[in-house]
Subunit: 307 residues, 2 copies
């Protein structure tokens, strides 16, 4: 039987601050995480927006250890632990389970393309078997526009059937609502927890029987997004959704990771926060001016965020 | 000034044997490498056909160490050291340089898509700066059909200009001859060494001023490919090229990595060699039958390969 999850309806793929030498900065990250938690947003650390694949396994292990040591609520964490190499995925997944994380978000291997369901099933199976823990709760991560490795509904159903108490949900960042809906229809009745990959789909996901969203913009707009997840049955919900969409479009019209980091850097008056790791680049001057103008015009702010 | 390179005109992205527990098998790999060297083919270990991205940095470091300890000619090696995370790329590149490898083949980071030249330049620059060795000889690896990150001629020219004695060549697996030719025309006059990513382009590459090829099929057909690279000015060269193309099409009509491993396994009567790591899958029975039939019909063999 599926266990109930302590994870909230909204999680943030937490943006990762970096030191000048390129190492992730556990101190700044822990403060950001604490602010998200205070706004009822869970911690999907090591996501796409966390630049997780720009960090080595060594760096991610150290960062997870640092967050745990700083006392952050591990049962609100869903670290990204998928990797191209099974050896890396096993090491990271095991560390997350041992730390007490409530779930792990697992990318498929994303180097080779045109993969078979058999090959993807073998990847997830081997990681799960080798971690070998009844506490492991895997959320499969579908983000085909980045990985170029789409995950079929057949594959998901096969994984759920093979690992009914371990493969417990997914994050779908495809942006293809008909796909998201088809997964919810097929698997949610069995307790499978579907998170949309953007709050743009939050209401539709909740109304269809999904559990929430894991969304980039939850890094900068956590209170409003988690409030809608709580009040989704309110008569004002559609208006609230429209407001969320406006904030998202402000960030999405720019390189999003760099823009969110710039917004945090501006709010905290801490330019170190604006760093991204190659191959990403920071906002250029024109983009930064656009962002500042939009933030000023819309009165956007991040209440309670402090360094 | 560019130094002359000890690397031969033909290299193989050496297929990697794996043990039943998923670890790479240094013993079998060293014997395969020795056979390739005996056929005048250099060792582009940790390539796409090596399933390098299905191995962790830990596994690759151990495997490199094992090959060096077994006495293989390090100056015939061009290990793949590119990675999504700069930390991994630096560790692997440094290990290759310290081992005495004649070059390193560097993928761009391949998780994010739609990257800017600035971001890719920053990635290569940071790896080169942090390795900080005058012995480092970088070959940039363009394989856009797999990475979905095409490398522009502008980017290559910018890297050569910034690191004239370090960024010394490339492997172009795009399969787009007009692109390959444009790189040779622009950069070969300055000593930039262009390898085609398939022996299908071997004669065209050599005639245009490139230096050779780094090709999957060199794993199974090394003698004939390296012979054509030696005798490319012979009047019979076009006939030899056509023969190479036939062998290649036999493997390319099947999942190529699995097919080459199956051919080695059959030749050595060593079924362990047929293993691939997920997300790849071994040939199915029908594919294996097709391969065996083609090998028998064409009289294809791997002379001198012994376990």
């Amino acid at each position: 039987m599926l266990r109930p999850s302590p994870l909230p309806a909204v999680l943030s793929p937490v943006i990762t601050p970096f030191l000048a030498n390129g190492e992730p900065d556990g101190g700044r990250l822990a403060r950001q995480c604490a602010w998200l938690l205070a706004n009822n947003v869970g911690l999907a650390i090591f996501g796409t927006n966390s630049e997780a694949n720009s960090m080595s396994t060594r760096q991610k292990l150290a960062l997870l250890e640092s967050l745990v040591a700083q006392g952050l609520a591990v049962d609100q964490m869903m670290p990204g632990t998928g990797a191209c190499a099974i050896d890396d995925a096993v090491v990271l997944t095991r560390a997350a389970v041992e730390a007490g994380a409530a779930g792990t978000l697992m990318l498929p291997p994303f180097y080779y393309k045109d993969l078979s369901d058999d090959g993807l099933f073998a990847y997830y199976s081997e990681v799960i078997d080798r971690v070998g823990s009844s506490r492991l709760q895997v959320y499969v991560y579908n983000i085909p526009q980045v990985t170029k490795v789409p995950l079929s509904l057949d594959l998901l159903a096969r994984l759920v059937k093979a690992f009914p108490t371990t493969v417990v949900g997914m994050k779908d960042s495809s942006g293809d609502w008909s796909y998201t809906e088809s997964v919810i229809r097929a698997l949610a009745p069995h307790g499978f927890r579907v998170y949309a990959g953007s709050e743009v789909f939050l209401l539709r996901t909740l109304r269809a029987g999904g559990v929430g969203c894991i969304s980039a913009t939850a890094n900068v707009n956590p209170a409003a997004i988690s409030a809608l997840a709580r009040d989704w049955q309110s008569p004002l919900a559609d208006n609230r959704q429209a407001e969320l969409d406006q904030v998202r479009s402000m960030f999405q019209s720019l390189p999003m990771i760099a823009a969110m980091k710039a917004a945090v850097a501006d709010t905290l008056k801490d330019s170190d926060w604006a760093r991204v790791r190659p191959p990403l680049v920071p906002l250029n001057d024109a983009q930064l001016a656009t962002l500042r103008e939009s933030m000023a015009k819309t009165g956007f702010s991040m209440p309670g965020l402090a360094s």
